[in-house]
Amino acid sequence: MNAVDGPGYLDEPQKSGSELNCPVCAQTLHDLAKLNEHLDRIHGFGEVSNEDADSVNTQLTRSRNVVENSSKAAKANRFELKRDHWIKPVMGKSRCRTCSKSLTQARQAINCRRCGEVYCKNHCNLIIKLNSNAEYNPLTGEWCKCCINCFGNRAGYNEFGAVCNKTSMFKELRGSKVEDKQLRKLQLENRFIRLANGIQQINNQSSKSMLASIRKYTEINKLERSVVPWTPDEAAFACSLCSKPFTLALRKHHCRLCGKVVCNESQTNCSNQLPLMSLIRAASDLPISTEFVDNNAEDVQIRICSACVRILFIKRKFTRELSLPEPSILRIYENMRTTADVILSILPQVLNQAEEFSATPNAPDVALLTKMRRKLLDSFALYDRLTKQMLKIKPKNPAEERIQRAIVFRASMLIQEHMLPLRSLTNAASTQNSSHETTPESERSMNQGYGNNLSIKEVKEYRDQLMVLKEQKFLVENMIASASKQRKFDEAETLSGNLRELNEQVEMIARALGEEGFS
């Protein structure tokens, strides 16, 4: 049972799942804790090496001694960290290695004590133990600031992991499960086809003769039992789905597709009598003849358990809904998004060109600039039209309403943000090139805003202000609470005065915003 040899042993699925092999010497261990202990003890991965680890006590005193010794040593000769490997930051030129923030002041820059690279304050905020030679030494080192690289790459950190590829095992397991499911689905489909076709046949015959129609239900019952053998009533003590025991009140029912005994509780919905015609319609891709059109068929119902419904019909419904056309709100949003992409890709080009143009007004690119600007304005107009279309849609439910409102808000922000630079550009260009263009109608309509008579810019500003005021209200409320708690009542009074003022302002802005406020 001990050492298993050979390099490939890790890739093979282990037979007994709960046992682990040491990645170094391959000894079998019973659980993760044992493996960790083994690694620490035998292979020395622990920070404090200890050969005689039988007693926890000796271990503790030992490590305490180590600490004391090292701190004594540190006191004796002050710790002096090597610094000549530090890279000297050049102010305004050096950048943090992690976030690339430009370092403009000496106070912002900091050297990683281990690798010596330059970082910003935020990205050199970890600590490891280094010796005076700036090497990692968990035993006698001193805590020093370091970067995330040095923190993560230190010896013994993250080194325990051994790779064990279990993908193939997983695939195999999963594959057989999927296959099972597929088979089960086929089986149920076959049964359903036989049942549906059979019932329709019986129906057809019974409509021809009076006698047959009397025997109809016994025939259907015979058919049902031939499609799937029913579990005998005596063998079932509890519902096979919800496990509730059957009683006089909880009657037994058979699912006509799997034959199992299930209950008929409305809460658990374990089984239901379902109209055959709607079932056939729900599985219209199956080869079931629907040629006969007889109203008699409408009132035939068959009992199916919830498990079979799920396998047979719910997935079908889902895939069918996927192929259905999307709701209009999403279609318009999709259009808006592509339009916005167009705007955002052209805009910087136009601005760049305009800059060049104003530097050298006689450049031959005037035509190109005009064309691009035209396209940009057209895109804006389209975007605006789409936004207004979106506003006209009546939301079907609160969720859709929220989505709609968010989309419109986002749209007004986008126009607000990108129309302004364009406006100044239009003015600059049209003074030099006035014959060519007039401000398009669309641009004017865009500034009328959505909903009330505030412009988009005002709405945005008011909303920001409202947000700030509400934040401050929250802060002041907390301040009042803590002032009262500390019995500083005069301060609480001052703060309450401020809270009243904040409330007044919030109300004022909320009124101005009307419907555009937060809800």
Binding site: D464, L469, L475
Partner: protein
């Protein structure tokens, strides 16, 4: 933690003339670009401490500190201080706090010339919206300790700022929240000015309006470092 004593507190205790004390309550607002050291100055003044890695202020913070005027030892002044956030986002909050303030302390960073420009725009705004007859405005150039270490770091010359302050009729100080230099002086001076403006006008009525005056003999510290809490 014990009671952190600032030089101001010590002075306050040496003057044992509580019986004739006048207690005045002044509202002070701090304005200026973000990270020039507004919060640091307030904390130096209120708690006599400095934190290298202060979180930037959200909205407006409220602190208070009580001092005695050096020139009028019988006058106790309680500053109620609103420390506003410098970020553009919070700009709309400022008017609420400077509107009924007695004094405004506008701070810039002597190593950041842009922050003086911002300070000047605050001065403009205050003069337009409030008018300086009711408001004592003080300009403070902070972080002078950096220049003491490295003279090349200074970007705003003391003389330039002082000249501007004189033209505009503002009090002017250079400070360091880190070393504490100039911080208590600035609040002394502001207290003195506001006292002259306000306290002289209605010395008795102020006293009458605020019934909780004289009992506050011990400077109230705004935090849990107070000795008997």
């Amino acid at each position: 933690m014990g009671w952190v004593k600032s030089p101001i507190h010590k002075r306050a205790h040496q003057n044992k003339r509580y019986n004739t004390a006048t207690m005045l309550q002044f509202k002070l607002v701090l304005l200026g670009d973000s990270s020039v050291g507004k919060s640091s100055i307030v904390h130096r003044f209120v708690k006599d401490s400095f934190d290298e890695f202060r979180e930037s202020t959200i909205g407006a913070a409220f602190l208070s500190q009580t001092i005695k005027l050096e020139k009028h030892p019988d006058v106790t002044i309680k500053f109620e201080i609103w420390d506003t956030a410098g970020q553009e986002r919070y700009k709309s909050l400022a008017p609420m706090y400077y509107r009924n303030a007695n004094a405004a302390l506008i701070v810039y960073d002597v190593t950041q010339p842009g922050s003086l420009v911002k300070a000047q725009s605050w001065v403009e705004e205050l003069k337009n919206k409030v008018g300086d007859q009711d408001l004592v405005i003080c300009l403070a150039g902070n972080k002078v300790d950096i220049c003491d270490e490295d003279a090349t770091a200074r970007e705003v010359q003391r003389e330039d700022a002082q000249l501007y302050a004189q033209e505009q009729g503002l009090l002017f100080y250079e400070t360091s929240a880190k070393t504490g230099a100039g911080v208590s002086a600035i609040f002394q001076e502001i207290g003195e000015r506001v006292y002259q403006k306000k306290g002289m006008e209605v010395p008795s009525s102020t006293q009458a309006r605020k019934p909780l005056n004289v009992e506050l003999q011990r400077p109230s510290t705004n935090d849990s470092t107070s000795c008997c809490s």
